[in-house]
């Protein structure tokens, strides 16, 4: 960190209370304890619920900021609790954990605002926010898990807490999606349990240690180590939506928009990608994984997923489905960056963990606004939406351009590092892959932008006419915006963040800067 900042840091360090060794636990408990309270609130206590939601989410952001600051000062947090002889429940706050925790804490706050606006009149709000809170607690646990055993506990909790959210609408379609989601993720979880047990039996530890814990095993039983790699990464690949385990993600888009945002940006797919990171870097160690010959196939799988997701996205007319396939493609950038086994690519991967979250959450919230405000759910209906909802569509456009990789937006930064990393690792094909993928991104995003901004809205007919006329000829003076600020605000905020993390990528405490910090640790430089 820069010199001026060190002075500020020293000052802040004095101002903040000494050490709170249980800080990670407090962060976990904020949303974990909020959950039963939210469950218990009656449906009618909307204001109280909103207050608790926002209060706890804001508190969490503050605590995470404090934690991140402390960790950057070199404070080490380590909370252990023996579950079985030798087997520990362990929370840690290493820089990699901070990266993920900050993402989830900040996006949780924004998504909560959005959800309040989105669901305010819907049924089952107590249930929704209770599980929502539980979801975020699970994500925090996943981020701060100090070993694979602890990771597994929260990974399963995440599955259980998201299932009721996916089927929140309670329709037959939602139920079907929920069932498919549950089958995929619980099978993945079971295989992860198998892998964790295997690791425990073979190596006598499930710890996350930079550089890996498996050197002895790899030397003695390379085949067992390879099998373990396949089992663990395969299990995590279900949530990370790696082909061929991706099918649940597009189906789960029947969930309400805030839940999609949660699945795609904050929690679920990220948990999978993050887990792959932990396993490759801190269970096997990148050099060991490379020596086993496992990184190249993983990179190839990620490449296939990137192209496959993009190609599928082009053919979708449903906005949310198109975005879902785009997620399949974009999340695999993270896996690709990990699998390339180059520190530069790793920077790209980690930065993309954050950047993809910001971009995708913007787009899903915008898509939710289109559906709520204008009843637009298909790409072919998007004509003229830019004029009807300029704020939302500006945010959507910024995120889309960032996804395509327009400099200096967020997506460009990650792609730049990934390409550099590919060259660094001697894999020139990565550059071609990224160029191709960007081209495909443009193919499926630009027509949406074109429709939104350069085509006129169709003559209002049928159902939508009523809504549109109601908005125009309403009793209120002047045209009423189709959605309120609770809905319009959040995507604009995240879009601004997309601009900021790209434009100020080199500023201290930017995700990219923090990422360099993490990579230095994982590559033990």
């Amino acid at each position: 960190m820069t010199d001026g900042l060190t002075g500020l840091a020293a000052m802040l360090n004095g101002a903040l209370p000494g050490d709170a060794p249980l800080l990670p636990l407090f962060i976990l408990l904020t949303s974990l304890l909020a959950s039963p309270i939210l469950f218990a609130l009656p449906e009618s206590a909307a204001r109280l619920r909103t207050g608790i939601n926002l209060g706890v989410a804001a508190l969490k952001v503050a605590l995470v900021a404090w934690l991140g600051f402390k960790v950057s000062q070199g404070v080490i947090y380590d909370i252990r609790f023996t579950m079985l002889p030798g087997l520990e429940f362990k929370l840690q706050a290493d820089p990699l954990a901070i990266l993920f925790v900050s993402l989830s804490a900040i996006l949780w706050l924004i998504t909560t605002v959005y959800s309040v606006g989105y669901l305010e009149r819907g049924p089952h709000r107590a249930r929704f926010f209770g599980f929502f809170s539980l979801c975020v607690a699970a994500t925090v646990g996943i981020a701060m898990a100090g070993n694979l055993f602890t990771f597994l506990i929260f990974y399963e909790l995440l599955t259980l807490a998201t299932y009721p959210l996916v089927i929140h609408r309670g329709t037959a379609e939602a139920l079907r999606a929920g069932r498919i989601y549950l089958i995929y993720t619980l099978c993945g979880g079971l295989v992860l349990l198998l892998g964790t047990l295997g690791l425990w039996v073979l190596a006598g530890t499930t710890g996350f240690v930079p550089g890996g814990v498996l050197e002895g095993l790899v030397a003695a039983h390379p085949l067992a180590a390879q099998a373990l790699f396949v089992v663990l990464v395969g299990a995590l690949g279900v949530k990370a939506a790696l082909v061929p385990f991706h099918a649940w993600l597009p189906i789960a888009m029947v969930a309400p928009a805030p839940v999609s945002a949660l699945l795609h940006a904050v929690a679920v797919v990220k948990a999978g990608a993050f887990g792959i990171m932990r396993v490759v870097y801190e269970v096997f160690g990148i050099e060991t994984a490379q020596a086993l010959g496992m990184t190249a196939p993983l990179a190839a799988l990620a490449a296939v997923t990137i192209i496959f997701g993009s190609l599928k996205a082009i053919t979708q007319d449903d906005i949310k489905k198109r975005l879902a396939y785009s997620t399949v493609s974009q999340v695999s950038y993270i896996t690709l960056g990990v699998a390339l086994a180059s520190p530069i690519a790793a920077i790209g991967a980690l930065a993309h963990l954050i950047h993809q979250g910001l971009m995708k959450i913007t787009m899903f919230m915008a898509a939710g606004n289109l559906a709520e405000g204008l009843g637009v759910k298909k790409v072919s209906e998007m004509d003229g939406t830019g004029r009807a909802m300029p704020g939302t569509m500006l945010a959507f456009s910024a995120a889309a351009l960032a996804m395509i990789g327009l400099p200096p937006l967020a997506g460009f930064v990650s792609k730049w590092y990934l390409a550099q990393g590919g060259l660094d690792a001697g894999a020139v094909w990565v550059v071609a892959l990224l160029l191709g993928s960007s081209l495909l991104n443009a193919v499926y995003f630009l027509p949406m932008l074109h429709r939104a901004w350069f085509r006129d809205a169709p003559e209002p007919t049928g159902e939508r006419a009523g809504a549109a006329e109601g908005a125009k000829a309403g009793t209120a003076p002047g045209p009423r915006p189709p959605v309120g600020w609770w809905l319009a605000g959040p995507p604009i905020v995240t879009a601004l963040m997309v601009l900021a993390v790209g434009g100020f990528a080199n500023a201290p405490f930017s995700p990219l800067e923090w990422t360099r910090f993490v990579v230095a640790i994982e590559y033990q430089e």
């Binding site: 009656p42 089927i167 079971l190 039996v201």
Partner: protein, 480 residues
């Protein structure tokens, strides 16, 4: 005779049962007080065992082989504590669940008699005493089964009684053989006895009798109907506690009279696998909620036997611990689940799984309780069921017995499948005609099941102390 904790744990519920029978109007009060007092005695005993490791008391001052001795070690106190704690919460649940005066009148004496028998099993040190106690348990359990008074319950109770009598007879035959061969019936005598064909035959008879009583596949035929048709508190006691008594005797007996060889252990594990698969299929097909829960008991019993067999003869002393963990986990979770199922039935008015989503009434807390208990039974972290399953699979993997791992994983997937049939009913509402009612708030009656289900989850966090407690006094491998 100065009162000691073990005698109290035996005689308090016995006198309570008599008092509750004689004074039916005060039955509930007497019952609660007796259960509470028994729990206190067990707590006292637990403290002593923690200090001393294990304790022995000769009833009336007569030492074995002539007299009756009671012995407590970590495992037996863990079972006593589970029985007492689950029993207390079920008793609280029964206060609300038993609306009918006649049911209340008979429930308390029967349940206290059952408690006497269970405690007797966990404290006994000779096999004749064990036989007496399992007869006491059978008598009370059959009574509890038919308590609801419906035709189905009476029929199921009758079937249960036949199975029970047959099981007890086989056990008694085995006891007779042991006496002929060894001339003694106490555990120390069993350990000291020279292995012989006669003793092996005796062990075989006793084990088959016990398997019948604990309902291991294919001897489970009596269980589902009996457990599903009883009233909710009775189901909770039968499923959570009663089948564990025979299981416990099985664990003890095979410690003192080693099973002859690997094949027998594998066979027992294979029966467990059969239970997991067959019970899973039946649970998937079950039409009624309580029937599904009862089949899940068959599955869990099978799982416990797989845990017993997971690492063959070599790993047996470790496998016992995995089995013991699963026994405790199932006791707590299943009692909570049956009580919750009873609550759902009371509120909604039926327990047909396919129609759960057609109901406008949603007893939210009972549904939540059911889901929590299911998490432990499926074996998802961090519940005690998860820890048990982890120990099972860990041992099997370390020993290279992959078949047990595979069966356990298949069983887990099936349990997800059958329990999610129920969850879907709780959560969907599109098939409902008319308005959705406001969520039911909580009722006092929800407290007991919720506490049980919550305990099943959080006890997983305490698995390490539980394990070291179970090992107190070396229940598996030392002379009693």
């Amino acid at each position: 005779m100065t009162p000691d904790a073990m005698s109290l744990a035996l005689f308090v519920p016995l006198f309570g049962a008599i008092a509750a029978f004689v004074l039916p109007r005060a039955a509930s009060v007497i019952g609660l007080v007796a259960v509470l007092a028994t729990c206190s005695a067990v707590a006292w005993l637990a403290r002593e065992v923690m200090a001393e490791g294990s304790m022995t008391v000769a009833l009336g001052g007569w030492a074995p082989p002539l007299g009756i001795a009671l012995r407590a070690d970590g495992l037996s106190v863990a079972m006593l504590a589970m029985t007492g704690a689950v029993g207390l919460l079920v008793s609280l649940g029964a206060l609300d669940a038993l609306r009918d005066a006649r049911q209340r009148q008979y429930f308390w004496p029967l349940w206290l008699l059952l408690l006497t028998g269970m405690n007797g099993v966990y404290l006994s040190t000779d096999i004749f005493n064990l036989y007496v106690m399992i007869e006491v348990i059978a008598l009370a359990a059959v009574g509890l089964t038919v308590l609801s008074g419906t035709r189905a319950a009476v029929q199921a109770g009758l079937e249960y009684m036949y199975a029970s009598i047959l099981g007890a007879l086989l056990f008694l035959l085995g006891v007779g053989f042991v006496y002929l061969e060894a001339g003694r019936l106490d555990f120390a005598g069993l350990i000291a006895a020279e292995p012989s064909a006669g003793l092996s035959a005796a062990l075989a008879l006793m084990v088959v009798g016990l398997l019948l009583k604990t309902a291991l596949f294919p001897l489970h035929f009596w269980l589902p109907a009996a457990h599903a048709n009883a009233t909710a508190p009775a189901s909770a006691l039968l499923s959570g506690l009663v089948v564990k008594a025979a299981l416990y005797i099985f664990l003890r007996l095979t410690t003192y009279m080693p099973l002859p060889d690997e094949i027998v252990i594998t066979l027992i594990g294979a029966l467990g696998a059969g239970a997991v698969l067959w019970g899973g299929v039946q649970a998937l097909r079950a039409e009624r909620l309580k029937m599904l829960v009862a089949w899940s008991t068959v599955v869990q019993i099978g799982l416990i036997f797989i845990a017993f067999a997971r690492a063959g003869q070599v790993g047996l002393s470790e496998s016992w611990k995995a089995a013991a963990l699963l026994i405790l986990a199932h006791g707590v979770a299943k009692a909570g689940m049956f009580l919750a199922a009873g609550r759902i039935r009371t509120e909604v008015g039926h327990d047909i799984i396919a129609d759960l989503d057609r109901s406008a009434i949603r007893p939210t807390l009972a549904q939540f309780t059911f889901a929590l208990a299911a998490i432990s039974l499926i074996g998802l972290p961090p519940s005690l069921g998860f820890i048990g399953k982890w120990s099972l699979m860990e041992g099997a993997m370390a020993a290279g017995y992959w078949h047990w791992v595979v069966v356990t994983m298949i069983g887990t997937l099936m349990s997800v499948a059958y329990f999610s049939r129920v969850f879907a009913g709780f959560l969907r509402f599109d098939r409902m005609k008319g308005e959705l009612a406001e969520h039911k708030g909580w009722a006092i009656a929800d407290v007991a099941p919720l506490t049980l289900a919550f305990a099943a989850i959080t006890l997983g966090l305490m698995a390490a102390p539980i394990l070291s407690f179970i090992e107190l006094g070396y229940p598996f491998g030392a002379v009693p």
